[in-house]
């Protein structure tokens, strides 16, 4: 993968993070900053390692992308980090939410919706493609099972995935998650063209 491609993706991810932060802050009525320490292209093993290994339980949201090209977006957290995010969204001290109950899951769905859509829209604007994120689906499962199922779609053609380290920050602290953008190969080819 070319350097301009990674640079281009980093620009897009930062634009997405800015939009997502604005959206979240608007919803919560409190400043939430989203930082993107790193954007990289990786394999399924990289994704699983980043969320705690093959057997790690993760909580997050999945959005399908349709339109000019198709793809997949997943926001994943090790479960404890997801619950911290719920606290952050609710203005509670970290550690207040202790289980992934209905309320926590609906907060994560909303988070996935805002963050996932912001990135998809940033990507759509950068590539001049029409892209539509689906409503979010809350996922709570073994990391590998989720990653593998997306790979069964994307990796059928051996494409890499874009792994975006994502840090959510407010005045009380921060928590980290992982945003995975898996464009189907035609979408990736289009990005390569634009980055060239």
């Amino acid at each position: 993968m070319s350097v301009p491609m990674t640079q281009r993706l980093t620009e897009i991810a930062n634009d997405g993070a800015f939009r997502a932060g604005r959206g979240l802050s608007g919803l919560i009525g409190e400043e939430i900053l989203i930082r993107i320490p790193e954007v990289r292209l990786g394999t399924r093993l990289d994704v699983c390692a980043a969320v705690g290994g093959d057997d790690a339980l993760v909580l997050g949201a999945y959005l399908g992308v349709s339109g000019d090209v198709s793809g997949h977006v997943m926001l994943l957290f090790p479960e404890a980090r997801a619950l911290e995010c719920v606290d952050l969204m609710c203005g509670q001290p970290p550690g207040t939410t202790t289980e992934a109950d209905d309320f926590a899951q609906s907060a994560i769905a909303e988070l996935g919706n805002i963050v996932g859509s912001a990135f998809v829209n940033a990507l759509a604007d950068a590539t001049n493609l029409s892209l539509h994120p689906s409503p979010p689906v809350v996922v709570r499962d073994l990391a590998m099972a989720l990653v593998e199922s997306v790979y069964a779609e994307v990796m059928a053609q051996d494409g890499p995935v874009v792994i975006i380290d994502t840090v959510f920050e407010d005045t009380r602290g921060e928590t980290a998650g992982l945003l995975i953008l898996a464009p189907d190969p035609p979408a990736l080819a289009r990005l390569e063209e634009l980055a060239a």
Partner: protein, 167 residues
């Protein structure tokens, strides 16, 4: 899982991989089967076993990949029987299937149906080689982890929320 003694070694069988073993200290594991289907294979007479981690239903003429022998169901079973070789008759093999779930939510999974198509493709391969499964744990919405204990020939399946059970 059963108690892990010091002499047991877990070997992770990743996506598209096929592992075989006859050392009783080995446990073959496929972690986090989502739409993939895992197949445990046990030959009681020679105490030989295998685990297949199948990603996709059909090669549709794509070449066999030595780095991912179980990428496609058809290639996976051809390779399994090649490695089983002259140990015995294929019909002596005890096969158990787990996986093929819809972990990305029913709506999305209905669109792709990869899990369901994987399971169907595996049944076609079983028919092709005159095999039949001794047990199955397929479909649903939860990812699974599948193990084959070479020391006992037993298979275990668990999910993120349910403990291991023999099947």
């Amino acid at each position: 899982m059963t108690a892990l003694t010091t002499s047991q070694t877990r070997i992770s069988v990743g996506i598209g991989q096929l592992a075989t073993a006859d050392d009783p200290g080995i446990i073959l594991v496929a972690y986090g089967l989502g739409s993939c289907v895992g197949v445990t294979v046990w030959h009681p007479r020679t105490r030989w076993g295998a685990l297949l981690h199948i990603l996709l239903p059909d090669s549709n003429g794509a070449p066999f990949r030595t780095d991912e022998p179980a990428r496609y169901a058809d290639h996976a079973f051809e390779e399994l029987l090649r490695r089983f070789g002259t140990r015995g008759e294929p019909r002596e093999l005890v096969l158990k299937l787990a996986g093929g779930a819809m972990v990305l939510g029913r709506n999305h999974s209905q669109r792709f149906k990869i899990g369901e198509r994987n399971a169907e493709a595996i049944y076609r391969q079983l028919d092709r080689f005159g095999l039949r499964p001794a047990a199955t744990d397929l479909g649903g919405t939860a990812g699974r982890t599948l193990e084959l204990h070479i020391g006992t020939g037993k298979s275990y399946v668990r999910t993120a929320t349910a403990p291991a059970r023999e099947f």
